[in-house]
Symmetry: C2
């Protein structure tokens, strides 16, 4: 092999050496300790492993339990029978059965947006962000693409592709002053950020709207963690709170979390037919690859109907009550926020053992620890759902206290 070229990577936007090194250490330990790599059947809201261990999932993003709603499952079945195929494979720009169009019309009416479906929010972002980078989706200007340093990897993963179409930079987290400096320096800026972070917290929509108004800033939100769980008809944090919903705001959201089905939606306002055509034709896999299958479409149509009914507010109310109950039992930095994710702080050297003891007591929570997060910030990630019972939450609270969680101070 001597004399042959070896290669030095640029690692400008990604670095697998680092990702694999850090990640493998985390996952190997998680799996060795029995808090990852679990296989279990789901029935009646409880998971059961092959050897008979039963546990309640407190790390599931189906915040309203719509994933197991009978109407959602029957909606999938109905669509399968009606269309008679999962997909009739041909690019939808040529010929399509009406399935996706019906879903896009339904979600569009539900959330007052022009909707384009995708098989995942990641596929949507991988398709849309390079089109934004090149100015073909937007006002024709190539913007500086500023990716928030905490934005989800499904968006951050598009940096190298965007960097071939424009300039790409990593933005300090939610730093409005920094962002305004970029808006002053560049003809246009696009800020890419989570609407609701997967570790808790919302985007500063009002401060961003000031920059949108003053500098024509384009903001690209992934609101996957709040759609359905938050807001009227489950429109999500961004659509409920962002003051500007026109061509300066683009939102993508998975349908795979609180919405309870499969697939994703791109939510647009203010884009004309030409822009929609550009997305349909050139937004990466939205054009050439497989669409949401008819089962996912039928389930989503059924979930949309639930979103239109009084049941949605009831489920959101149950979720909020469960979050409040949890907050009354366990102290976290996220206490009293509307967001259904909590990180229960634990010591670096006890967090995995704590996670295993909680699992053995009948509850799955995710231990997060170095090297996935900084030393000194380890914890157990807890996600509340509407369908968890008061008894389950109280028992989890008791177990968490036993393994070292802090009780709230009584006011």
């Amino acid at each position: 092999m001597s004399g042959r070229k070896t290669i030095t990577p640029t690692h400008r936007y990604r670095d697998n050496d680092k990702a694999v090194g850090v990640g493998n250490a985390f996952w190997d330990r998680s799996e060795r300790e029995g808090v990852a790599g679990i296989v279990a059947e789901l029935a009646g809201g409880v998971l059961r492993t092959a050897d008979g261990h039963e546990f309640v999932n407190f790390t599931c993003c189906s915040y309203l339990d719509l994933d197991s709603h009978p109407d959602v499952i029957e909606g999938a079945v109905t669509a399968l029978r009606r269309f008679g195929v999962l997909d009739h494979c041909i690019p939808r720009s040529r010929v399509q059965i009406p399935a996706l169009l019906e879903l896009e019309a339904s979600l569009g009416e539900l959330w007052s947006a022009d909707v384009i479906t995708a098989i995942s929010a990641g596929v949507a972002s991988a398709g849309l962000l390079p089109l934004i980078a090149s100015g073909h989706l937007g006002d024709g200007t190539r913007p500086l693409m500023a990716f928030d340093k905490n934005c989800h990897v499904s968006m951050a993963g598009a940096k190298p592709a965007c960097a071939d179409e424009t300039e790409v930079v990593t933005a300090p987290h939610h730093d409005i002053d920094w962002l305004e400096d970029q808006c002053r320096a560049y003809e246009r800026v696009c800020y890419v950020v989570d609407g609701a972070d997967s570790l808790g917290g919302y985007a500063p929509v009002k401060e961003l709207a000031v920059l949108q108004d003053k500098y024509n800033l384009l903001v690209y939100y992934d609101d996957s963690h709040s759609v359905s769980a938050y807001g009227e008809r489950g429109m999500g944090y961004i659509r409920a709170n962002a003051p500007i919903l026109d061509e300066r705001t683009i939102t993508v959201a998975t349908l795979n979390k609180a919405f309870g089905t499969s697939g994703a939606a791109v939510l647009l306002n203010g884009y004309d037919k030409h822009a929609h055509r550009v997305i349909e034709r050139f937004a990466g896999a939205l054009c050439y690859s497989q669409p949401m299958n008819t089962a996912a479409v039928g389930a989503s149509l059924a979930s949309a109907e639930i979103h239109r009914s009084a049941e949605l507010a009831t489920l959101q109310g149950k979720l909020n009550a469960n979050v409040a109950l949890f907050d009354s039992l366990v102290d976290t930095e996220q206490s009293a926020t509307s967001y259904p994710i909590r990180i229960v702080p634990m010591a670096d050297d006890t967090v995995i053992d704590a996670g295993r003891r909680v699992y053995e007591a009948g509850f799955y929570v995710s231990p997060v620890f170095f090297p996935i997060v900084a030393r000194g910030t380890a914890g157990l990630r807890v996600m509340l759902r509407a369908g968890q019972t008061e008894d389950q939450i109280r028992r989890l609270g008791a177990v968490l206290a036993e393994v070292g969680a802090a009780r709230p101070q009584v006011a």
Copy 2:
């Protein structure tokens, strides 16, 4: 706006200006002429538009018509009822219901491979190729990533991400001598290529095996267009013909074409548990994003059973008979090949009109023309399926002759 920075793109691996410029001209004309943007309901193998026009689809990749096979649809329904969710949203590395594992075991047995599922072949490639580029999937060496110039955009789209992990180059089409030069120059090379091209033709698997043997060349195939339609148990062209099926050959294939369902499969041999863990944890959206839904899993389990039965060979036989019948009626460069795609040559200035006349006569074929292909190479793309009747194919042949297709020379 004066004084603010404008940006000049690098366009090393992609160029939306060019893609959108070329593509919009093509699609605008296709839509204006009524051979794109068609919406129709499917029933009994015939598509019907809202205004009552009926046509048979001759541009559908479901080559065996398994997409509408009753067992496939009922398989989806059964899985929905059994698992009770489309997905129970949590990374599968933490907790998973057994759905994906059962499908991976079934496909693994069917095709004698270790199988990892994905929601699309594009998502699989976007996840795997950067891991290969960084040497984490392979022998630890960062290879030169040589993308065949004709390889599908779902692979070519990964160039910018790969270029941040190693060196990336575009390879002349199926040029073994060029590839051998690279193998001599670089410590390792990975060649990325379609197993079966979407415009016809197979990868030179035997010649590539010589380089695999001599230089440890890694070959990454997307065999989406031949899986199910070709080979024993529908293993596809690559698995049926590539002499080397070990860690030097990686194959991805959609389940959305001839397989008749939804999703994709990564087919591996010779990779150890550590390598599988690396894929599960770090291959992009395979790790963090939504998996194949249970409807797709159930449909795929049913399709796999059909692949194990005598019915598969019957369907392949019907497909081949339809291809042969078409070849007896219309002369194309692809005549007498086993591949079910034909390009019927047409003049640049008549191809669209020809496509419209064929559509009006009750058959959808795709016109391809400049700027999508070079001037002088326009044509109507015809895709045969097992379920098309002799009468339909004969009538299509007659219409194609009317619009200018050449009849085969009688030998």
